[in-house]
Amino acid sequence: MADATELDEVVREFLVESHEGLDQLDRDLVALEKDPTSKDRLASIFRTIHTIKGTCGFLSFGKLESVAHVGENLLSRLRDGRLTLNADITSALLAMVDAVRRMLADIEATGSDGDDDYAALVARLNDLQEALAPAAPDAEPRPSLVDEAVKLTASAAVEDLAPEPEPVPVSAPVAEHVPDVADASPLPTARAAEHPEAHSSSVADTTIRVDVHLLDKLMNLVGELVLARNQILQFTSTQDDTSFVATSQRLNLITTELQEGVMKTRMQPIGNIWAKFPRVVRDVALACGKQVRVEMDGRETELDKTIIEAIKDPLTHVVRNAVDHGIEAPEKRVAAGKPAEGRLFMRAFHEGGQVNIEISDDGGGIDPEKLKQKALQRGLVHPDQLARMGEREILNLIFLPGFSTAEKITNVSGRGVGMDVVKTNIEKIGGTVDIQSKVGHGTTLKVKIPLTLAIIPALVVTSGGERYAIPQVSLLELVRLEGDQARRAIESIHGAPVYRLRGNLLPLAYLSRELGHDATTSDGAAVNIVVLQADGRQFGLVVEGISDTEEIVVKPLGKQLKSITSFAGATIMGDGKVALILDVMGLAQRAHVLAEGHDRAIADDRQASDATNDAGQELRTLLLLGVGDSGRLAVPLDLVDRLEEIEHRAIEWSAGQEVVQYRGQILPLVRLCDMLGTPRPEDGEMPLQVVVATEQGQTIGIVVDRILDIVEDRLEVRRGTQRHGLLGSAVIQNKVTDLLDVRGIVCSVASDLSMDDLELQAAAAA
């Protein structure tokens, strides 16, 4: 489960915390004696002892726990007003504080809470609280273990306590479990100090607690310093004074180091939250009769404190889920040929400025079929939607609100809340969640979160003369299209601009348009596409210029601007000016580039056109091509496999036929201009536009002059033709358009090639 070093860490923290608590306790107790009715003081003392008791119970310091426990009982009575503080009680409590302190020292030196016997003290504390028992006949029976502790040493009860005026039923938190006082079992794994004498100073002396707000303030100040430094550096570049330049260099270095240092003060190892997971797993496993082993890797991976806080609950939920639903019962595991003991593996590591956390189990995995059924049952998805979903999308159904796959609802998890909350909480801090699962082998949940929220790397772009920062987390790649290419490469579907990125249609949004600037898309200017990811989908953001990546300090916007979802905040640039930080998700929603319907709509169109292939009257999606000077041709899009651009130099000759190597095959090319007798355009630098189509197993590439558009229109052939390669003419978008006979062309090429076919295939195979 947990190894020695980890427990050391926990113990050390416990010591630091407890020492501080005890110092506070001393002050409080003395102050309390002067003002015995101060409820605040009492509450504070009670909390301190309660915390110590709780923690040492977890760390199995039995003796310490028992002392703290009786102390707590006494204090709870004081707090509830059923006992009044007097000198005896104060002395007893102070004696308890001393005893606790002694045991803490023992723990620090030897790793166990010492061999001293505190039974007398326990009894004394018990007797003090006992004193009111006769006066409070309605009081619940005290926990039996405490009774036993009392019997251990019978000492004179303090008689002179003022009896309670009004007996109140005991509502004090009675202990759930008090280990036997005599059982001074030393901590099994902690070997904190094999050489106690080597510790010259106590752990508590080398660390201090700092208010997080102070750290936040420091962080802000460092942010300012970074900006001031950047300004000075800009100014320095115009100066020749060597001593000035040297000084600003030093300032530069010190600032960087200071920034790192302050950042570090906010960093905490993820092990801090993982430390409680073995216990969580143990409890959950016990509750559902499973055996689970926890393994951890990368416990030391550091994260900003605010992020640690934010992921604590989601991760706990995931861990509980994994044990409750993921890992099977031992007999089931054995039957499946797996060891009876399940394995829960947690891994954390840094990658690309982000922290990755993976939680995997070797359990039964998630059955996509079951997920589908559940999703349908609960009406979370439409059957049509489901039919189009890939495996990954299906697995991600688990993150939908109101989804629970557990057949029986247990008290551990499975109430249909949770995974959606996990996802929301992780996304709130700019993270992502992904799930992978293999039936019978287990499930892995992958969480990616930013290192820190305060300073993030961002890409600075320009639009409408202003700079905007795009958080690097959402950035996938940059595409720059020069000159002529820029005009042709951006196509349009239903009026929505798209760019073909390696064969995938990337919906585009223009930043200037979305921000309401005048669109200054001058012809011939280069087009910069920032490929972004939001909600697991990609889109391209066309910006006017791309400057640089920078570390930016994220600052919130005032309430007057909060409702603008396109901005995530603002930052101050090196020159002291303010730049807005784009909210990629908000921007995408604004531009409707992620709208579910968008590319689904295209799929629907295709399906619809398939269904009514020959009806002719129905709306069909058509690819419009340009040939010659003004020729317009149309092809039903469902006959087209892909659109490709092929470089001239890629063209080779085979048996008097132009061919290219295409996806490991040889693709014969047909020039539409030759076939239709229009003049062949000059072979410029521009790549060839090729429509790839397959008919009866033969794939060919039809070289066209231009690809014009993809439109939706009724396809009604108005006039037949005898011309080879054409089916006839139709009116599409109010223009006479010839219909390309793709089938005919492919078949004629296929028959031409039929002799060479064997050779071609042999070549392809070789």
């Binding site: 916007l557 309430k559 000016k577 303010v578």
Partner: protein, 151 residues
């Protein structure tokens, strides 16, 4: 409608004389370069960097539906404190801090209409002019976005 003598920081907007409670004012600074916020309400003139703090600048002329400031005239920033941090109010010109006795305080006359009536708490009749007291809270209450948001 406070009935005690109070100190008002005053400023001019399109010839009108305005005042706000002096304790609300954090500082007054000269014109700062601003970063425009697209999609925001037209009342929001931009963002300024106030010693590392990002402050929203509100054009008071626009807010009070007065004439736009003539080209080339640079506004001043009256930085006011609010629950949500500092906000800058852009004004034409800064006046003195005036101590005003309450007896001359009056509700805005019925004839004053529109936004001004909404945002002006009352009027002080000074010897030579009228001083309009602005309700800062209401002035800072702006719907997040302007009409162009849907466009």
């Amino acid at each position: 409608m406070t009935n005690q003598a109070q100190q008002l920081a005053t400023f001019y907007l399109d010839g009108f004389f305005f005042g706000i409670e002096v304790e609300k004012v954090q500082e007054v600074i000269r014109y700062q370069e601003m970063t425009r916020v697209p999609l925001a309400s037209s009342v929001v003139q931009g963002l300024i960097n106030l010693r590392g703090q990002i402050v929203t600048a509100i054009d008071l002329r626009e807010r009070l539906e007065l004439k736009p400031r003539p080209e080339g005239e640079l506004p001043m920033n009256v930085v006011v404190r609010s629950d949500d941090g500092a906000v800058s109010l852009l004004v034409d010109e800064i006046g003195d801090v005036l101590e005003i006795a309450d007896e001359t305080f009056e509700q805005p006359p019925e004839t004053v209409s529109g936004t001004t009536r909404e945002l002006v708490r009352g009027v002080y009749q000074l010897r030579d002019k009228l001083l309009l007291v602005l309700d800062t809270e209401r002035t800072l209450q702006i719907d997040g976005s302007g009409p162009e948001r849907d466009g």
